[in-house]
């Protein structure tokens, strides 16, 4: 289920302007929390019994090692990349087990901890991570995926290069089902879809400090509103 970081990444590396760690290079010793690694997601269940379905799925998922904060709009999940994705996989697969149609709007972010401001010292090195590995769920998911490397200035920066490289990686994993306006369409096991988006984000994160990715995942969609 791993989406490998392939050599297409090397093409992007040459165009990035933020790989020089500069005078400050403590990133390798930062915890995921200090580096601002985490997710914010809204799980929407198209069923009048949604409260029970959502609360049951959240309660059944393993929260070990994670910071979880749920409010009226979304749920924040902070922690190491593998644990954050494990949790998303468990919650969404758990809710999907109800049979209800659901969608999950997921934001993954790294390199910009804090709330209003990025509370990192200037010049901190970009901090990558090992790709996540997620066990198959048996749940088919379709998703629209967007990846945002948030470059600052630099002589040769090109924000689209890392995006194209990540899409090529996803294509190699067989999960890309096309591209619509503003998003790449993924289709596969929920675990593959989540791992593809996460590993694109992690891979670009080795080159660019502040990287976010957004994913809208649809599960159990009825034919009535399917194209």
């Amino acid at each position: 289920m791993v989406v490998p970081v392939t050599t297409t990444r090397d093409a992007a590396r040459g165009t990035d302007s933020q790989t020089d760690p500069g005078p400050v290079a403590p990133a390798a010793r930062m915890t995921p929390s200090q580096y601002g690694v985490g997710a914010r997601f809204t799980l929407s269940v198209y069923d009048s019994d949604y409260v029970r379905i959502i609360l049951d799925a959240l309660a059944a998922a393993d929260q070990a090692g994670l910071t979880i904060e749920t409010n009226d709009i979304s749920t924040f999940v902070g922690g190491p990349e593998q644990r954050v994705l494990d949790f998303l996989r468990e919650v969404i697969a758990g809710a999907a087990g109800s049979g209800a149609h659901l969608s999950a709007a997921i934001l993954l972010s790294r390199g910009c901890p804090g709330e209003l401001a990025c509370e990192l010292p200037a010049g901190v090195a970009a901090l990558g991570a090992a790709p996540v590995e997620l066990a198959a769920t048996g749940v088919r998911a379709r998703a629209h995926w967007s990846l945002y490397p948030l470059l600052d200035g630099g002589a040769t920066g090109d924000h689209m290069g890392p995006i194209y490289a990540a899409i090529e990686d996803a294509r190699a994993a067989g999960v890309v089902a096309g591209s619509d306006h503003f998003a790449t369409r993924l289709d596969g096991d929920l675990a593959t879809v989540l791992a593809t988006a996460a590993n694109g984000w992690i891979g670009v994160g080795a080159l660019v400090q502040h990287v976010t990715t957004h994913l809208t995942v649809s599960v159990n969609s009825p034919s009535e509103i399917t194209e």
Copy 2:
């Protein structure tokens, strides 16, 4: 209901590296479609009668002048900024009239037309637009909002400057209710919330070619899952 582009924008202008139109400057003559102005959104209704509620809301909204494409994951809306936002306001307010709890995951994008690749010539000037004006709906909305100016290289680029400026504009409009990890919390009439996010995106779009913004809007949330 207009969120004005205030002088805080001027502070960001000084830090941006993409204002020089360079040798290619046809942007002022581009149509919104040519420039890739549009939205992609997923409307989730937490009710077993969701198909009727969503289809009724889509059918009742004025589609004049817009390109609308609905598939199994989300709906694309292409057209001028004012018309795109009018449509989002009508669809969400219409569905909210059912009384059902709903959330809308909205992506607005500009400056990167096409599907997989940005089909603009290199060096095209950033293309702003007039702020949108949306009539009040009487529907209270709470949202998490993120804004992404996708800078390329440049000597003095700073992607956070335009974000902070847009948040200051929103604060001046009285719709900012705080900041959570990775997102600014907005709370107000649905029209104010949508206009705030859209006008932040439009304002930064005058400085940076490729700008996206993501907004997760929650309406009719029950107290059971409110913080």
